[in-house]
Symmetry: C2
Subunit: 347 residues, 2 copies
DNA sequence: ATGAAAGCGCTAACAG
DNA sequence: CTGTTAGCGCTTTCAT
């Protein structure tokens, strides 16, 4: 089965290759009779232009890359979808990849994107301090928009204001009388974890309360870590009275661990989720969460990157979106004297 | 910023373009001294071969395409990941796209894949009977593996045995005394919906019971439809005593609708989910589900497609995987006399 | 083992 | 408006 090329089309339509090409690319200056003949030839032969050849010749790919940690996370999907809509409208295709938060995979994806000569990249990174990754990013000859990270280099940056989010959550819990609040989040070499810890400390400081460093855990963002951290914390004699899931998809892990201890939410333990989800909404009781408008954020990223592609040498920009605390039924007021807490469990 | 090409590398290393190319492609017959010089040049110049040019010249893309309805669905993500692992190992890249179950988008994706000259495709389809889609699929000049669909054409087919799954679910519910069982699933122009309905009827027939056609709903697979169908059904005087979510991600919608009516699971209404999820596991009570090994299925699809690429003219094959009913706490035995049911609601 | 040169499928510049 | 032709970046003969 021989591949049909533009040459076959030209021959079939009895025109030159150039004319065939013009028709394919919708050039205006083609006589109607020729155009119809070429179109007919395309149809009968079932010709589809070879994209790779077009890219080589045109010297540009009209593709944008995007790297997320895990496309499965529904909020990230809405982020990607919003960005995709804008890119398609602007004539760009979108290559979507998951890094699984692994350095080797991230490097591999950057390499492939270079090979593909993409014209822009929206990405997070598994580490802000890793020199290999920083090197690989700086070797890129297309603009990079950093999402929710804090890195050196001339990148545009769009972030979620996690400090504000966790600050709202902790302030709320403190007002309910909670003092032992577990924050489980990712490693401090990544901005969202640092910001959450900062927001946590700020909220305590505002009330002139001390932070128990043992309650600030930075082991990882994923659900499995959420499970482990929660399980360990709940087994301790002086267990926390509230937990903040400091990651976008940690909530399942946290809830599984709580379930395993037979503690009751919110009577025995209050919970605030790191992002909204069906699970948070449908859990019994419904879980209070920090929520962002990911669709808006995705659209903004796309817009900024498109502008950057147009104007490569303007100043890098930086933007932050503040989350909103959605109060549902997963946080209860707590008796102030710590000794009482154990009793309330019996009730 | 000038793009560096293999020509620059050759010049820098003082070798011919051919030699540079041989080094880049790891050809064995290059003298060590030349090789090191080329490698050094590549490094200092930061050269990365242009993938599009390679594809044009080699006449093949070494890419596989995959179209799923919605990559967000976690089970589909594990399906894709398993397939991806095998493809990468075999030297193929994977282009992952969501069709959103929309015909226009599906056609557009097929068109793009043709332009990209992919060498194989794993896909579902939004309609098995649509002639445009069938036409577009048959115009493809690379092998297509149909996932969970029933279409004409010389495609390999891998399916989930939904008939068996729903049959298990209904048989189980009948054994608990349920008679009014709502099955909410997708339109009958798609295999998984047809198969589920068939499994439903078979289970009733096996007990010599009649099916109430009003309880077999085929409006759609998505969560929003699950919500609507459930809400409507629960408002009727003679409401069902059990609901089967006949779709991979319908459960959130079903549960939301139940929540809105203040009915209690499983006392007032029993529920079986169409696929396993964190939500099913963590809901209160935990939801019984039909479960498949999506990782295994994804790997199988990849393997079959790779074999098909090797041997284009062997007989198309067909495979089905049976789901397993995972019993949790969302189904209760029901009092047989229908009149009693309303009372139990007050209790 | 290496270099020169042809050419993959296509677009665009040029001449007519 | 159309045809001819150079050449995008690369791989792969074909000589040497």
């Amino acid at each position: 089965m021989k591949r049909i090329t533009i040459r076959d089309v030209a021959k079939q339509a009895n025109v030159s290759i150039g004319t065939a090409s013009r028709v394919i690319n919708g050039a205006p200056n083609v006589e109607a009779a020729y155009r119809t003949r070429v179109l007919a030839a395309i149809k009968t032969l079932g010709f589809v232009p070879n994209r790779a050849a077009q890219e080589v010749r045109k010297g540009r790919s009209r593709e944008i890359g995007i790297i997320v940690r895990d496309i499965t996370t529904p909020v990230l999907a809405s982020f990607v979808r919003a960005a995709q809509d804008l890119f398609e409208e602007a004539g760009y295709g979108l290559l979507i990849c998951s890094s699984d938060n692994r350095k080797d995979r991230e490097l591999e994806l950057l390499r492939r994107f270079r090979q593909r000569r993409i014209e822009g990249l929206i990405t997070t990174t598994s580490s802000e301090v890793d020199t290999d990754l920083a090197q690989a990013r700086n070797d890129l000859d297309f603009p990079v928009l950093m999402f929710d990270r804090e890195v050196d280099g001339a990148h545009d940056i769009v972030q979620v204001d996690h400090a504000s989010g966790v600050n709202q959550a902790v302030t709320y819990l403190l007002s309910l009388g909670h003092r032992r609040i577990l924050l489980s989040t990712g490693p401090l070499n990544i901005y969202p974890a640092r910001a959450r810890v900062e927001g946590y400390k700020r909220a305590f400081a505002a009330q002139r309360l001390d932070v128990d460093p043992a309650l600030v855990r930075t082991a990882g963002f994923d659900a499995a870590t959420g499970f482990r951290e929660t399980a360990v914390a709940l087994e301790r004699a002086n267990r926390p009275s509230a937990i903040i899931a400091g990651g976008i998809d940690m909530l399942p892990g946290v809830l599984k661990a709580i379930r395993a201890t037979h503690l009751h939410v919110p009577r025995d333990i209050s919970v605030i989720g790191g992002a909204d989800s069906d699970l948070a909404l449908l859990a019994e009781p419904a879980i209070s969460v920090l929520r962002w408008n990911f669709t808006e954020i995705g659209a903004t990223c796309a817009r900024m990157l498109l502008e950057r592609i147009e104007a490569a040498d303007t100043e890098p920009r930086r933007l932050a979106f503040a989350p909103e605390l959605v109060v549902r039924d997963s946080c209860a007021a707590v008796v102030i004297a710590p000794a009482q807490k154990r009793e309330s469990r019996q009730k």
